[in-house]
């Protein structure tokens, strides 16, 4: 019987990571789409960078930033009694980093496509900038943002390199499905590797089809 624990762990890690990346990504996209942020292209580029940088580079940065000797890592350990790195939290952060660019990019594009006159109308009707964002921009951009969230989830589900660097390969803690496949191949358990790979592929395909369905839907269905 196949060991399903890594799959469940992957789900848990990816779900938490997607929530984190959504909150962060939508907030950043909102600020970028607003267009009055200093250095917006620099911010955009640094959020996109994880898509093209080697996982080892990202993992190394995270280790430096969050390791037990770093300020953040030290503070976290003092507060919660355990380090972030080489824990489930580290795996979540690694997956968040992968999901963030996908969600931010999709959210920015969707928010920028919202008719500015609708936002202007909301403002003249007494809505603050923030209320206009939550009551007009966000609902009108929800399809594009949802598609980004689905892609982000798929990406978070499959993270390997950064997770291995930052969180290691601890059974039940950080050994997600992609790490379990790596293990299975190394120890010659080809049948396990095949099964897990097929399941991961099916999941990814499902999410991708869902996302393309969302983006292709006509927008007049309100």
């Amino acid at each position: 019987m196949i060991d399903l624990e890594p799959l469940f762990l992957s789900f848990e890690v990816a779900t938490l990571a997607t929530c984190l990346a959504t909150a962060l990504g939508v907030a950043i996209a909102g600020a970028l789409a607003e267009g009055r942020v200093w250095g917006r292209e620099l911010i955009d580029a640094s959020i996109t960078a994880p898509m093209v940088l080697p996982p080892t580079v990202l993992g190394y940065y995270l280790l430096v930033l969050l390791g037990r000797e770093s300020v953040i890592g030290h503070g976290f350990e003092a507060l919660f009694g355990a380090p972030i790195v080489f824990s489930r939290g580290g795996a979540v952060l690694a997956a968040t980093l992968g999901a963030l660019p996908l969600i931010t990019k999709a959210a920015r594009a969707a928010l920028e496509a919202v008719d500015m006159r609708l936002v202007g109308a909301a403002r003249t009707l007494g809505a603050s900038r923030l209320r206009a964002f939550f009551s007009v921009s966000l609902p009108l951009a929800r399809r594009g943002i949802s598609a980004g969230i689905m892609l982000g989830f798929a990406r978070a589900l499959g993270d390997f390199g950064v997770t291995l660097m930052v969180a290691g390969n601890i059974p039940g803690q950080t050994r997600t499905a992609s790490l379990a496949i790596f293990d299975a191949v190394l120890s010659g358990r080809d049948a396990d590797a095949t099964r897990l790979s097929l399941i991961m592929t099916a999941l990814a395909m499902t999410v991708l089809i869902g996302a393309s369905y969302l983006t292709r839907q006509r927008r007049d269905g309100f």
Binding site: D115, R117, G120, A122, R123, T124, L125, G126, A127, F222
Partner: protein, 224 residues
Amino acid sequence: MASELRLTAKLALQREASEPSFSLDVSLDFGPGLSVLFGPSGSGKTTILSALAGLLRPDSGHVALGGQMLFDGAAGVDLPPNERRIALVFQSLALFPHLDALGNVAYGAPRELSKVERALRAASWLSRMRVEHLARRYPNSFSGGEAQRVALARALASEPRALLLDEPFSSLDQSLARELSAEIAEYVSTLSLPVVLVTHDRAVARELECGLTLLRGGRVENVS
């Protein structure tokens, strides 16, 4: 407020980057009741409305409403649109596609009211504009005239101190435009706030019997 509600403005603006370059330099004074701002397209009408409502910042000048300074370039005063209480009905109407008519109209109703009160207020504005049957329908199903009425109801439900209408009849056929413009003129005459109607249509401008400001190339050419 004891003093009558007047909307006055002096606006200057340069857009050299645009092609052709555009400059605006106008002094405006609108009293309570309907005023028409008439001019060909490109004369700066929409720019003026945006500046009055606070959606666009002029280079210099001032905007005042009922003695309150809304914008003063020299003094650094620039109230955001949500604090000006100037309702603007866009040429595109800009109805929120994700809200039904009731939701659209309730959106601008005073926030200190409860949700139920806002909905009741919205319903009464819809019936005053004779479109109460649209309450639960969404803007993509409205006819041109219906959308116009809902947009007007939404603007008035926000209890504005001035109302700006950008080409309100441009999307309607002529007989409907005439009917609606007569109705609006009659309705507006009962309001004690400045209502500025922008049009490039000479027929509309002539038909509405009220003060007329003629705009050409970003300058006021004539006030009558």
